[in-house]
C-alpha cells in the first residue's frame, strides 16, 4: 500500500479492542484463550476484566469444551487462538459440543491464511473456512478490515448460536467507512461494474478493489463484492451480479477447496452456470516468508486477480 492516506490496521487488533469495549456493556461476555492472548489481543479484555477472562493454557480442546459449558450456563463466550488450532485442533469439540447442540460459542480465530508469514505452513490456516463451513449450525464470517471486524464483533454478541470469525495477523487497509452496517447473510457491492463480478472475502477485498482499478485501465468494468458472510451466503446477490456480468472471479486467502470459491460455485452451478475463476491457494501448504511475498508467490496478488478477470472475459467470448 503506497498511499499514506490509507489507514492500516490488523483485524485482530480491532477484535481485541472492540471486545474489551463491549465487556462493559455486556456483563455476560467471557473470554477464553489458549496461551496466545498477546497475539490474539484478548489480553485487552483480560486486563480490563480479569475475572471474566480464562487463559486455558496450551489446551485448545479443553478451551472449546469449557466455552460450551459457559454458554450453556448463560454466558457469552468468545474463544480465541490461531485459526489452525481454532478449527483443526478442536474439530470434534466444535462439532459435538458446539454445533450439534447449537451452543452459543463464538470462535474468534486470528492468524488465518498466508499472511501469518514467517511462522510458516504449520501456522497458516488455509482450510479453516472449509472446515467451519461444513459444520451444520455454524455461522462463518470473514471481516475485510478493522471497521467490519468491529461491526461483526458487535453482531456476534447479540447473535445466538455458534459462530466462526476469521481474523488476520497483518496490518491491512481500512476500506469501509465507520457508518458501514454488517448484515449476516448479506454481501455488499463495493464497486459496481458490468463486465465481470469479483467476489472476495477478508483481506482480499482491498486487493480486489485495486485489481478493479487495474482492469478499468484496460477498459474492463469489474464489480467488486465484499462477501464477508460466507455462511449463510448471499445467494441472491451472487445470482444478481453474475446474471448481469456473466462471469465470476472469487478471491480468498484460503485454499480453493472448500472456501468462498467452492461456496460460490455451489450456488452458480445449481442456478446459473457461468464461467468462474477461483483465486486462492491451489491445494498446497504455505511456507515461511513475508506476508506480501507469499501472497505474490501463491497467486494472490492484484495482478493475479486482474488476470483471472481477463480469463473470464476470454472464456465468455468463446
Amino acid at each position: 500500500m503506497g498511499n499514506p492516506e490509507i489507514k492500516m490496521k490488523a483485524t485482530r487488533d480491532a477484535y481485541g479492542e472492540k471486545l474489551a469495549e463491549l465487556g462493559e456493556k455486556y456483563e455476560d461476555i467471557v473470554v477464553l484463550d489458549a496461551d496466545l492472548a498477546k497475539s490474539t489481543k484478548t489480553i485487552l479484555f483480560g486486563k480490563k476484566f480479569p475475572k471474566r477472562f480464562f487463559d486455558m493454557g496450551i489446551a485448545e480442546q479443553n478451551m472449546v469444551g469449557t466455552a460450551a459449558g459457559l454458554a450453556l450456563s448463560g454466558k457469552i463466550p468468545f474463544a480465541s487462538t490461531f485459526a489452525v488450532f481454532a478449527t483443526g485442533r478442536v474439530y470434534d469439540q466444535l462439532r459435538m459440543s458446539v454445533c450439534y447442540p447449537k451452543v452459543n460459542v463464538k470462535i474468534a480465530a486470528t492468524h488465518s491464511g498466508l499472511t501469518v508469514g514467517e511462522d510458516g505452513a504449520s501456522h497458516q490456516a488455509l482450510e479453516d473456512i472449509a472446515l467451519a463451513r461444513a459444520l451444520p449450525n455454524m455461522t462463518v464470517v470473514v471481516p475485510c478490515d478493522a471497521v467490519e471486524t468491529e461491526k461483526v464483533v458487535e453482531f456476534a454478541v447479540e447473535y445466538v448460536g455458534p459462530m466462526y470469525i476469521r481474523l488476520g495477523r497483518s496490518k491491512v487497509p481500512v476500506i469501509l467507512d465507520p457508518g458501514y452496517k454488517f448484515r449476516l447473510g448479506k454481501g455488499v457491492v463495493l464497486r459496481e461494474g458490468k463486465d465481470v463480478s469479483i467476489i472476495a472475502t477478508g483481506i482480499m477485498v482491498a486487493k480486489s478493489l485495486e485489481a478493479a482499478e487495474v482492469l478499468a485501465q484496460k477498459g474492463i468494468d469489474a464489480e467488486v463484492i465484499n462477501m464477508s458472510s460466507i455462511k449463510p451466503l448471499d445467494k441472491e446477490l451472487i445470482l444478481e451480479s453474475a446474471s448481469k456480468t456473466g462471469g465470476v472471479v472469487t478471491v480468498e486467502e484460503h485454499s480453493i477447496i472448500g472456501g468462498l470459491g467452492s461456496a460460490v460455485c455451489e450456488v452458480l452451478s445449481e442456478n446459473l452456470p457461468v464461467p468462474v475463476e477461483r483465486v486462492g491457494v491451489k491445494d498446497v501448504f504455505g511456507e515461511s516468508g513475508s506476508a506480501e511475498e507469499l501472497l505474490e508467490k501463491y497467486g494472490l496478488s492484484i495482478n493475479d486477480i486482474a488476470a483471472a478477470a481477463e480469463r473470464i472475459i476470454l472464456r465468455r467470448q468463446k
Binding site: 496461551d35 496450551i58 480442546q61 488450532f85 514467517e118 510458516g120 505452513a121 504449520s122
Partner: protein, 284 residues
C-alpha cells in the same frame, strides 16, 4: 565423562547459541527463549549421545530426535548444520521465502528433521510410533522427544504418556525443557501443570530430574535412561529460558521476539567471551 568431552560440548553449545542469535537476528522473527534454553540438551544429544550419521539422514539404525516444541527450530537447525546435515550457510536464510529452513521444522525440506512440528503436543505420540516400530523390527535405535513445559498442558501429551508406559517403550526418552515460562507468563500462573514429576511417575514413567545446563548431569541422565528396562524415561531438565544471553534470561517477552541488530551484536559479544571460550582455547 571426561573433562575434555565436557569442554567440547560446552563449546558446541556456545556455537549453537551464537547461531541461534544470528539466525533470529537475520530472520527478524522467531523464538529465542526456548531455543536457548534447550541448547545444552540438544548439544549433548547431537554431539555426544545419539548414534547418527549426518551423511545418511535416513539411515535405518539412527537414533531419532523429535523437536515436539517446534517453535525452537533454530536450536535444531543450528545443531543439524554444525553436525553436517547441511551447510551452515543455510542458517542465514531462516524463515525466508523459497528457502529450506522453515519457521517450524519441516521434514520434507530439511535433512535430519524426523517429523514436521509446530503444533504443540504432537511429538510424543509420533515418538511412540517410532519406538513401537523399533520393537517390531528388532532394532535398537532410541527415540528422544523434546517437549516444552507449557506444551505438556496439551491433553494429547498425556494420552501419549499413557500409551508409552502401556507399551513399555524403554527405547523412548522424553526430555522436558522445564524453563518455567510459556507465552502468557509463568506456567504455574497460566495453567499450572504441577506436580509434574508426580504426574509422569503416576503415568508409569521413570523420572530423572537434572540441571539442563550441566553436561555431566545431562549425559548421566541419558545413560541412565539407556539402562532402564520396561518403561519409558522422562528427563525433567531444569533450564533457564534465554540461557546464555543475560538480557534474555528468564524474560517472558523473549519467547517469540527476534533481537534487533544492536541486541544481536550485544548477545553475540556476550557469547564470544568468558570461561567456556577460555577453556576451549586451552584445550586446542
Amino acid at each position: 565423562m571426561l573433562e575434555t568431552e565436557k569442554i567440547f560440548l560446552e563449546e558446541k553449545a556456545r556455537i549453537i547459541r551464537k547461531h541461534i542469535i544470528s539466525m533470529l537476528g537475520e530472520a527478524g522473527s522467531g523464538h529465542p527463549g526456548g531455543s536457548l534454553s534447550a541448547a545444552d540438551i540438544v548439544a549433548a544429544l547431537f554431539f555426544h549421545h545419539m548414534n547418527i550419521d549426518p551423511a545418511r539422514p535416513h539411515w535405518e539404525h539412527r537414533d531419532r530426535f523429535i523437536l515436539s516444541k517446534g517453535h525452537a527450530a533454530p536450536v535444531l537447525y543450528a545443531a543439524l548444520a554444525e553436525a553436517g546435515f547441511f551447510d551452515t550457510k543455510e542458517l542465514k536464510y531462516l524463515r525466508k521465502t523459497g528457502h529450506m529452513l522453515q519457521g517450524h521444522p519441516d521434514m520434507k525440506s530439511t535433512p535430519g528433521v524426523e517429523i514436521s512440528t509446530g503444533s504443540l503436543g504432537q511429538g510424543l505420540a509420533v515418538g511412540n510410533g517410532m519406538a513401537l516400530a523399533a520393537k517390531l523390527d528388532g532394532r535398537d535405535y532410541r527415540v528422544f522427544v523434546l517437549m516444552g513445559d507449557g506444551e505438556i498442558q496439551e491433553g494429547m501429551i498425556w494420552e501419549a504418556a499413557m500409551a508409552a508406559a502401556h507399551y513399555k517403550l524403554d527405547n523412548l526418552v522424553g526430555i522436558l525443557d522445564y524453563n518455567g515460562l510459556q507465552i502468557d507468563g509463568p506456567i504455574t500462573q497460566v495453567m499450572n501443570p504441577e506436580p509434574i514429576v508426580d504426574k509422569w511417575k503416576a503415568f508409569g514413567w521413570h523420572v530423572i530430574v537434572i540441571d539442563g545446563h550441566d553436561f555431566e548431569e545431562i549425559i548421566s541422565a541419558l545413560e541412565q535412561a539407556d539402562r532402564i528396562e520396561g518403561k519409558p524415561t522422562l528427563i525433567l531438565a531444569k533450564t533457564i529460558k534465554g540461557k546464555g544471553v543475560s538480557f534474555m534470561e528468564n524474560q517472558v517477552d523473549w519467547h517469540g521476539k527476534a533481537p534487533s541488530k544492536e541486541e544481536m551484536e550485544l548477545a553475540l559479544k556476550e557469547l564470544s567471551q568468558g570461561e567456556v571460550l577460555e577453556r576451549w582455547e586451552t584445550l586446542k
